[in-house]
């Protein structure tokens, strides 16, 4: 997490992941550094997955959001240290769950769940833990697909990445 003056913080909190619109990029933990130099804001962001197609859009959105406030921003993509799901904020995890995406489990529980062990991931619809893995890979690189055995609702699970 970076600490920022509240105006800049507000701007960045208003930029959202285009694939998971309930999450701001601050909640995602992908903003790694913000520096101001000669009136230009230099922002470093890191991708969740190497091939994440949202990164270009996010960069453009940041620049546009600053421009709207009459500020200039430059965005740079950094790879190291690699992003981890631990960087998703508590607020972000809650927003994910409310949106219907189960938040990532701890690493070892995550491995078990993705190898097909049952009763690990909680259904985002009815809260039952009687769920099963449908596919290790879901609608985006960061998610897997699960289904609830109680309410039968399919739902996404945000994979743990450490």
């Amino acid at each position: 997490m970076v600490t920022l003056d509240s105006h800049i913080d507000d701007i960045l909190n208003d930029v959202h992941d285009p694939e998971i619109p309930v999450l701001s990029i601050m909640d995602m933990g992908i903003v790694r550094e913000v520096n101001e130099k000669d009136g230009v804001y230099h922002i470093k962001i890191t991708p969740t997955y190497s091939g994440c197609p949202a990164m270009d859009t996010i960069s453009d959105d940041i620049i546009a959001a600053f421009k709207q406030e009459g500020l200039e921003a430059k965005v740079k993509l950094v790879l190291s240290p690699a992003w981890s799901t631990d960087w998703i904020t508590e607020k972000g995890r809650k927003a994910l769950e409310n949106y219907g995406i189960a938040a990532p489990l701890e690493a070892s529980a995550d491995k078990d769940a993705l190898r097909g062990e049952k009763n690990k991931v909680k259904c985002t619809n009815c809260g039952s833990k009687d769920t099963r893995l449908v596919s290790q890979f879901g609608s985006t690189a960061c998610k897997a697909l699960f289904q609830c055995n109680d309410c039968h609702e399919p739902f996404d699970y945000f994979k743990c990445l450490k």
Partner: protein, 251 residues
């Protein structure tokens, strides 16, 4: 540092992921079932993401006005440095899985070594990629076991795929000049060590899958030095079509 040699090494790392990514991308909408279709295209997307990281850096290294897209799209066939294995066609699902599994057994330990690379960018890309490739390995090894130790039909298809593809495995470990150079200055992987890890992993999992590794197979080499199989031209015809037909086009 010798920029040209570094550039060559980055091509080798990137081309394997790119050509395999392209092969997997061909399956988009054609997977045997929805979940595997999505899985294979997700893996393809990870690989292309990794390639972008390698090629953005390669463009910086070589200087001039070359971009990542030029490097990816505008080389001639004999300038691609990927191994023969990754250009082999998607004959059926068993072939797709077998090719993926053999590649993952090479790719995963390679990335683990590259995490320790003295080159900061290579190490950063590897640390990012290794987390993704662990999922690829999970996926491919699970399917190898499921098909190999499945029905008679799935076992036979898996064994056929292994018989066909094993001859392309050793090339991954035959050191080229750029790999030798990268190893010696501490930025690249050590193929001898990798080969041991590869042999142990493949033997254990093929055994569990009740599959037999072909013995005394004549191994095929050449693509890493630009001598590709007949399939490569067709892949590039698809892959490069838009850039060749409409030079400098952008999305």
């Amino acid at each position: 540092m010798d920029q040209k040699k570094l550039y060559d090494y980055l091509l080798l790392l990137g081309d394997n992921s790119m050509i395999l990514g392209q092969r997997l991308g061909e399956l988009c909408g054609h997977g045997p079932e929805l979940e595997t279709d999505i899985a294979l295209t997700n893996i393809s997307l990870d690989l292309f993401g990794q390639v972008r990281n390698y090629f953005q850096y390669a463009a910086e290294v070589i200087g001039g006005d070359k971009t990542e897209d030029d490097i990816a799209m505008l080389r001639y066939e004999n300038e691609y440095r990927n191994a023969l294995l990754v250009e082999q066609p998607n004959v059926n699902f068993a072939h797709v899985i077998c090719r993926q599994f053999i590649f993952d057994c090479y790719h995963l330990p390679l990335l683990k070594q590259l995490c320790e690379s003295k080159n900061e960018t290579i190490s950063a890309v590897a640390k990012k990629s290794v987390k993704e490739v662990e999922y690829h390995f999970d996926f491919s090894s699970t399917w190898v076991k499921r098909l190999g130790d499945g029905t008679e039909e799935s076992h036979n298809k898996m064994q056929d795929a292994l018989n066909e593809l094993w001859r392309y495995s050793d090339e991954l470990f035959r050191e080229t000049e750029s790999e030798k150079w990268a190893k010696e200055i501490g930025i690249g992987g050590d193929l001898e060590v990798l080969k041991k890890a590869f042999n142990e992993k493949t033997q254990a999992i093929f055994e569990e899958a009740t599959l037999e590794i072909p013995q005394n197979e004549v191994q095929q080499y050449g693509a890493k030095n630009g001598r590709h199989s007949e399939f490569m031209g067709y892949i590039l015809a698809d892959f490069q079509y838009m850039q060749r037909a409409y030079p400098n086009m952008q999305w």
